[in-house]
């Protein structure tokens, strides 16, 4: 496992706990992600991995513990939080493109309204991003006119348009047909190669093998293993991880 100096971390979680009523969804989570690192979070359903991902830009509040982005603690609800969220890109399982806006407007809304970029410049940047994820042709259309894979690539472009320090992916391919999964993963692999800091919650083991620097395995709200993909897939240490991996291989 890579040893880390906390001060070096772009994203750091320290003793984070969260409950949903009786259910203890995050149990004493400690995690540091350095600049340029790609961390894949895997684990069975209900293990708290999505909650962990959403807590990092405070779409979920936590009960106690400290979450820091680039050394700065997550502010409470308000202007400060909005500003910090602009630095954290988020891609959702259900895409969540703005249904009443065109593809181009989806990508330019953040830069224009949050960063105060001129419309002409935002349009230019957005078109470049849309070309990069392979949906430049779709710019004038509405989200509903696109396939799931195309919508998710637009969602990635929308997050990138804010020039974020870190990108969070919350099961980005779980709502997609098998043949559309790859077109999204290709964009993500490319992004990882370009040095983007990424935290990816996914069930795509292929992506974890190919692009991850580290694999974090969660079960029952705890981080059970934190290892390189090589280590994790060939030589898992915990029984929980062995059990999880054996179930993947039998199908």
């Amino acid at each position: 496992m890579t040893t880390q100096v906390p001060g070096d971390a772009l994203v750091s979680l320290n003793a984070v706990n969260k409950h949903y009523g009786q259910l203890h969804v995050l149990k004493d989570i400690n995690l540091n992600v350095r600049k340029g690192e790609v961390v894949v979070v895997i684990g069975p359903s209900g293990s708290g991995k999505s909650t962990l991902c959403r807590a990092i830009n405070r779409l979920e509040t936590i009960d106690d513990g400290v979450i820091k982005i680039d050394g700065k603690e997550l502010p409470a609800e308000g202007k400060e939080l909005a500003k910090l969220r602009a630095d954290v890109g988020m891609v959702f399982q259900s895409f969540n493109l703005f249904a009443h806006k065109t593809i181009l407007e989806n990508v330019t809304l953040g830069p224009i309204k949050v960063k105060g970029v001129s419309k002409a410049e935002a349009d230019k940047d957005a078109m470049a991003l849309l070309e990069r994820v392979g949906v430049g042709q779709q710019a004038p259309k509405l989200p509903a006119q696109l396939s799931g894979g195309q919508q998710q690539r637009v969602a990635i472009a929308r997050a990138l348009a804010m020039k974020p320090k870190v990108m969070l992916f919350d099961e980005p391919t779980s709502a997609l047909d098998p043949e559309m999964i790859n077109e999204v993963l290709d964009v993500m692999v490319q992004l990882a190669k370009e040095g983007m800091t990424m935290i990816v919650v996914t069930h795509e083991m292929g992506f974890a093998r190919k692009a991850a620097d580290r694999v974090v395995f969660m079960a029952d709200g705890q981080i059970v293993e934190d290892a390189t993909p090589e280590e994790f897939f060939t030589n898992p240490k915990s029984d929980r991880a062995k059990d999880f991996l054996s179930k993947l291989l039998t199908h």
């Binding site: 308000g78 909005a82 910090l84 703005f98 249904a99 809304l109």
Partner: protein, 215 residues
Amino acid sequence: MNTLLNNSDLFITGFRNTLILFFFSAIFALILGTIVATLRVSPVPAMRAAATLYVNVVRNTPLTLVLFFFALGYPKLGLVPIDFTTAAIIGLSLYTATYVAEAVRSGINTVPVGQAEAARAIGLPFAQTLTLVILPQAFRAVIPPMFSVFIALLKNTTVAAGFSVFEAGAIRANLSERGEPALTGLLWIALVFVILVFILSALQRKLEQKWKVAR
């Protein structure tokens, strides 16, 4: 036809005032109702409570009483004096705003929560998340009930006739004074209202087509 033509002055003044009451009340009710609806979904409990109280108190009061208050009760408070037309516009706006608020609130509830999350995730603050992402989609979803509210408002303006505002509802009384048959007069007034509502319905259809949200 003679009833209409011989008394066109009454009809024109009456319906002109009806339209004045309608347009001003509709605009104020739309603005106030939207604000109240957003307060009802705001994260601040005090705002939610205040908006809920307002909707329940005013909506549960008969319109006649609301107008009575502004036409007869308000002047006794010794505040800035207002004429009857202004009083009627204020009363109608406050009353209709409660219905607008409920329509808008149900529209807000149709917008998937992921839309707000995505807006927050790109750094939009609460106010912009509402005005740029949630409300535009909410309005599109509630065009039919919203127009029902405005059609009701158009007809509710006639209640103001009871408070010395000369509008369409007061035409009949004036016709009687001129010795015109009451039934004919009422039928003509009804016909004009039907035509006005048709115009509103046509506008509704147009907006529905223009703002069809594809999902």
